[in-house]
Symmetry: C2
Subunit: 138 residues, 2 copies
């Protein structure tokens, strides 16, 4: 399909790669390990996806949550589909730590921003590729 990433999502994030029919972005905010899972669709509500794509997105959310929790040793995973401001469907998968700047509040109410360094971004990109290489080939 003819899919174009919303400029607000693209502008605040770095694309890590793909899972199936979805893109995986990293929010460029080193305060959190914050992923965006974006199925290539024009549908704006998660529950309005066709059944097969809904199941796919749920499975991808599970994969990414597992990766963030296990690889980055965070204390809690926060997952959400909100979309009140940016309408394009995107699922947040956020690794939270008890000592992060927003704890125990949510990241959506937090204005603190700190871009990743180039070295950090390269490291995260590499780790994502290693973790999901076989999935991306499949």
């Amino acid at each position: 399909m003819d899919f174009e990433l919303d400029h607000r999502l693209a502008g605040s994030s770095i694309e890590l790669g793909r899972l199936g029919r979805s893109r995986v972005l990293l929010k460029n905010n080193a305060h959190f390990l914050w992923l965006l899972l974006i199925p290539e669709t024009a549908v704006t509500e998660l529950h309005e996806l066709p059944a097969d794509q809904f199941e796919e997105v749920c499975g991808q959310t599970r994969q990414l949550s597992t990766w963030v929790k296990d690889a980055f040793h965070v204390d809690k995973i926060n997952v959400a589909a909100i979309g009140n401001i940016v309408n394009q469907l995107h699922v947040h998968i956020v690794g939270r730590s008890r000592d992060d700047v927003a704890w125990p509040g949510t990241v959506w109410a937090c204005d603190e921003k700190k871009p990743f360094s180039d070295v950090e971004l390269l490291d995260l990109q590499t780790r994502f590729t290693l973790a999901f290489n076989s999935a991306r080939r499949g």
Copy 2:
């Protein structure tokens, strides 16, 4: 299993009924149509549920989102599993309107509260029972 609802979830909500192995609660805040879906489990992370229960909870989230969107004519559904404060696994399904008190912010950053009247609660309870009666029997 021996499951006890967290007293903070129980204290702020009214139980509407059950879907499969999950309870469905209504937050007692008339500013929003805000449901809590609580699978009876000791697991605290959505992605750590056994595969069959994870799929069940995703399907129930979809059912409840569809109901809230269609029956209450809201503008947007917000779904999330956060659990930074109350550890017991609970999925938020929130109907949002462009003229609600928190729009376009999230409900978790909103302190506004207004209890439902007894008449409103009875109406919501009845509508839930009518909508999910067959599912609850199944």
